[in-house]
Symmetry: C2
Subunit: 152 residues, 2 copies
DNA sequence: TTGTAAATGTAGCCAAGGCTACATAGTATA
DNA sequence: TATACTATGTAGCCTTGGCTACATTTACAA
């Protein structure tokens, strides 16, 4: 079974060898696994930025999930070093969490703007961006930003 | 708790009332839950279309997952009426599965083309499309197609 | 201050989608 | 045909991210 890439085509020789279809699917799965945490840190940052505090109940309502679900995901954020929270006090972001929130928010905005710029109706753009954003790589994000700069 | 939308803004009165942030997150989660099945039916259709048969081992290798994982997901496809398979025979798509595969394949192509058209490098476009495609609504897809028609 | 409502937390369940280890069935070859 | 390799299937485990039901804590108002 050597000398055959996963898509069935013969390898052309030396490495690095272009990414296989399996690589692409794997990366898409990885991106997906970070999507929930990205939405949480973005939302927590927004809540703190506007109202002052991010309570689990508010987070749950805004995300449309039950409060135990929100609490469990917040526990994961803490485990991963993105947030801190003490019982009955609000949730706060660590430095790492803030940085992630900033990047996620910027990317969200660029994705919506790009969609609108190519003609997607505002509502659909807002809706679809919520999922699309988590699969936009740095290279694609840069291309989107370039396009928007050229376009306007 | 009446008269307040989930984002804290007062409702303007009659229905339908614009989608809340919670609605958007919810729909993004729904889209995600269909992503794996979409990739499977597209791949099964491709394998049958080119080689003639879609064996669980080939499916697993192309997706970059273990074969038990592939078999379990194929079982789900059968449960949902998208595929049929008998032990030690290949996997086949039902009418519904074929239709889904056709739509998914078309959408995949449009997404890649759109990304390339706005300036995303080919590699990044191929990669990111694998995740993005599952979050592109019909409205957005139509806008993409329009853009491509205008553009070229 | 005391009583109630809201917020928070805990326990325990589920399905999806991963995995490894092992068993069985088919296929090809010596 | 006997044997070995490959493909398929099964069992059992894990994590994520949902949920409901119930317990506890806090905040607020009477
Ligand atoms: Mn999102
Ligand atoms: Mn977002
Ligand atoms: Mn895909
Ligand atoms: Mn695809």
């Amino acid at each position: 079974m050597f000398e055959l890439a996963a898509d069935g085509l013969p390898k052309r020789g030396e490495l690095p060898a272009e990414p296989t279809q399996a690589d692409r699917f794997g990366k898409a799965r990885t991106a997906q696994s970070t999507a929930v945490m990205e939405d949480y840190v973005e939302l927590i940052s927004d809540l703190i930025g506007s109202g002052g505090e991010a309570r689990p109940t508010d987070i749950a309502r805004r995300l449309g999930v039950s409060h135990p679900t929100a609490i469990k995901t917040i526990a994961r954020l803490k485990r991963e070093g993105l947030a801190v929270a003490k019982p009955y006090r609000g949730v706060f972001l660590t430095e790492a969490g803030e940085h992630l929130a900033d990047r996620v928010r910027a990317r969200h905005r660029v994705v919506v703007d790009l969609l609108v710029a190519v003609g997607v109706p505002r509502d659909a753009a807002e809706q679809d961006a919520e999922g699309i954003e988590h699969h936009v790589s740095d290279a694609t994000l840069a291309a989107f930003a370039d396009y928007l700069r050229r376009d306007r």
